[in-house]
Symmetry: C2
Subunit: 190 residues, 2 copies
């Protein structure tokens, strides 16, 4: 027994994602969001006390999706296959890493935000454990060098998506060359 909503949570999240990637944490405002969604700013306050609350809930949703997809990647049999699948997935939607960085900027302004940040913390540990296992798998299959810290390997893989493709090299070529360097380095084997 109520009026129909002008905007779905899904629309809210998608616009939020775009805004975040376009303008960063500070550039993301309810004023802007409301304009893009063609509702009044006050309408958004019906659902979220403030932008921290909206953003932290959005982050939970985004990380959930990422973990879900990562588990699918982990179903591949060999480490090689998993490695390539992960690489391709990350490069397909290059946003996760930046989104996560932005997420860390959210100040804990109330109880709900605190809860969401705790959830995020747990999910991050879950994610890290999954990735850790992935690295261990690579080492146990004798593919990955055993003396490399996993945080370095993972950090490197995730950072690569931020490298600007200034020369507009075709996406598939870019990804392949990137993999090549990651796997075997930029130096010739002497």
């Amino acid at each position: 027994m109520a009026r129909e909503r002008k905007i779905s949570t899904e629309e809210l999240y998608q616009t939020t994602k775009q805004l975040l990637l376009d303008r960063g944490y500070d550039g993301y405002t309810f004023t802007l969001l409301a304009n893009r969604l063609d509702v009044s700013r006050a309408a958004i306050y019906k659902y979220y006390e403030n932008k921290e609350e909206l953003l932290s809930e959005y982050m939970v949703y985004e990380l959930q999706t990422f973990i879900y997809n990562l588990k699918i990647v982990n179903q591949e049999k060999s480490f090689f296959d998993q490695f390539h699948a992960l690489f391709n997935y990350i490069f397909n939607d290059m946003s996760i890493y930046r989104i996560r960085e932005i997420g860390m900027q959210i100040p804990t302004v109330n109880q709900k935000v605190a809860e969401n940040k705790q959830k995020l913390e747990k999910m991050h540990i879950q994610l890290y454990t999954l990735l850790q296992k992935f690295i261990e798998f690579g080492k146990s299959e004798n593919v990955l060098k055993k003396d490399l810290p996993s945080s370095l390997v993972l950090g490197l893989i995730f950072q690569t998506v931020n490298i600007p493709n200034l020369e507009r090299i075709p996406h598939s070529e870019w990804v392949e060359k990137m993999k090549e360097i990651m796997c075997h380095g930029m130096f010739n084997k002497e």
Copy 2:
């Protein structure tokens, strides 16, 4: 025939750098800068019309320093030596890349800013040419793989500084492992 300045340009630049790295472009305000320097905000307007002007001049200074040091690196004889010197230099002051990214956000609000941005553009080309030569040198000495786009190689080298060292691995070890991956990859040679 004038009063002594409370703050030197050098102090202004150093505080600016810290503020930028701490808070990012949007978080950098004259209000904050004036507080940190213990002067009134209005005093800063005696020297700069607005923050864009100050920041763009600071950027020019920073890029100049970087290019100067890069030329010193380029004096090393072999590509190997140049490579390691560059890597060490970049990791010694990890700020250049982030600073440059922030610099790109400066809107052209007046003539002076426009001029500074043009200067920055020219210096960037100069920088890119230097680095390009460096890469070409590496390829000609048959050290670097010839089929890798230089923008990818450079992007990768500069991005590596942004990888968070979560496990607090000692700096020297971190840098060495990073070099190892860059040069020969994370995979074992089968």
